[in-house]
């Protein structure tokens, strides 16, 4: 059984989505549990990819190919998890803040979060502060992730943190911010819980934040 899980993991790291899909089906035929395939093959494979990316052994396109392969495996497993939903490492609400339409960075974080086993609720771009909070409350999300590419839209991030404080939710909903003009200093100024320098770093921060909620 371990061989096929390692095989899936390896093909995932190579970004071979067709093979990952085939092998996932094969593993199920061999009575491997969906949870085991998810955790020991797909998420484990993405963890390896994440480590290699952080060590500069592979590049972003390789990570994104691996993510597509993971999605292919997940597509096979999803119907089997329908009753209780896919087990996740936590829920994250993501969005590009109000006034801003740049969403590539936010998309990359979302893709990598899903690869790390998180459930991602992507609100898209131009997201109002109230919507971030409303959806996070409704979905019982542990983290709100906000992206901005312009100095003019960065203040919206502060408004989200302020609203969370006003509603007394900062102990159960953590915030992380990212984007070209954003910095660790700015995160501290507005009271955000973390600043993700890039997509890989954001995933590490969110993993830590999830432990605090």
């Amino acid at each position: 059984m371990m061989d096929i899980l390692a095989d899936i993991s390896q093909h995932l790291a190579q970004g071979d989505h067709e093979r990952v899909s085939q092998l996932t089906k094969k593993a199920l035929e061999q009575h491997t549990s969906p949870e085991e395939i998810l955790n020991k093959a797909l998420i484990e494979g993405m963890n390896v990819v994440g480590t290699r990316y952080r060590n500069h052994e592979i590049f972003l396109p390789d990570v994104l190919l691996a993510a597509k392969a993971m999605y292919a495996g997940m597509d096979v497993l999803r119907p089997l998890f329908l009753k209780g939903g896919i087990p996740t490492s936590g829920k994250v609400v993501l969005g590009t803040v109000q006034g801003d339409l740049h969403d590539i960075g936010k998309n990359l974080v979302g893709i990598m979060l899903k690869g790390a086993g998180f459930e991602v609720i992507d609100l898209g771009s131009n997201v109002a502060p109230e919507k971030f909070i409303g959806v996070a409350k409704q979905e019982d999300a542990g983290v709100i992730g906000m992206s901005a590419l312009l100095t003019t839209t960065m203040p919206v991030m502060g408004r989200v943190v302020e609203l969370l404080k006003r509603e007394g939710l900062t102990h159960r909903i953590k915030t992380i911010i990212g984007g070209a003009p954003v910095s660790e200093k700015f995160a501290a100024e507005i009271g955000a819980d973390a600043y993700g320098y890039d997509s890989a770093h954001a995933i590490e921060c969110i993993k830590e934040l999830m432990n605090e909620v």
Binding site: P61, L64, L65, G99, D100, L108, T151, T152, P181
Partner: protein
């Protein structure tokens, strides 16, 4: 001079190595065949979906002073504030690749083609810069032909949102130039649509006027310090000659 310039996609096609950095790819390092294939496909999609167009309008120093002041939100001291006053000639510009390329990028992400989508995004960002390069060349050649500047003069561009020039500067710039004529609109948050668009000012004059130290307070927040490369290139100094980054 006020001119609208249509370009061919091929004229703004970026060099491969120019956009690899944005994807975390170290130029010179071996890339997988799969990555190479995606690069080729991204380039094909770029050529098929970008429709570059730009406009330039000369502006006097007093006129630009008003434009640059914008909504009064610039940093107190900025390099451009010192540079533009020493210019021989200024021109404001806008360029865009059109909306189709952004639509293709969105479609690729929605269909889980993440690697190709992000690659096309990087190619398009670099392609937008190349479109402005073409405008710069056109403007500079015109100035030389008219005998207004010599070949030894230099041209560099600056845009709102960088180096202390506040994003809100876009408003006055739009009021003066009317980039709507080439399909660019400005949102309340000063974002331009289509996203792959650039506006700014081209500063023509002695190359030396562009030299400045990257020690302004806002430089600490800058991730790229790309001004160093731009000035080096203008002055004809290679990074190898000047590894410490000083100009």
């Amino acid at each position: 001079m006020k001119k609208t310039i249509r370009m061919k996609a091929d004229d703004v096609k970026p060099e491969r190595n120019c956009f690899l950095n944005g994807l975390g790819i170290v130029p010179g390092r071996k890339r997988s065949e799969r990555t190479e294939a995606i690069l080729d496909r991204a380039m094909q999609l770029f050529l098929a979906s970008c429709h570059p167009i730009g406009m330039i309008s000369e502006v006097s120093i007093p006129e630009f002073e008003v434009l640059y002041h914008g909504e009064g939100l610039n940093e107190e001291e900025t390099p451009l504030d010192l540079i533009f006053r020493k210019a021989d000639t200024l021109a404001i510009f806008a360029a865009t690749l059109g909306s189709e390329v952004s639509e293709r990028i969105d479609e690729l992400f929605k269909s889980f083609e993440f690697a190709l989508g992000s690659m096309l995004d990087s190619v398009a960002s670099e392609g937008t810069e190349r479109a402005v390069d073409r405008l710069e060349e056109e403007f500079f050649d015109w100035l030389v032909r008219k005998g207004r500047v010599g070949h030894s003069a230099g041209i560099l561009r600056y845009s709102p949102g960088y180096c202390g020039w506040h994003m809100s500067g876009q408003r006055k710039l739009f009021e003066f130039l009317h980039p709507e004529e080439i399909g660019i609109t400005l949102l309340e948050s000063f974002i331009m649509v289509p996203l792959k668009s650039i506006t700014g000012v081209m500063v023509v004059g002695r190359k030396e006027i562009h030299q400045f130290e990257d020690s302004y307070p806002f430089c600490k927040e800058c991730r790229t310090h790309s001004c160093r490369d731009r000035i080096r290139k203008l002055m004809g100094v290679s990074a190898v000659q000047n590894p410490e980054g000083g100009i």
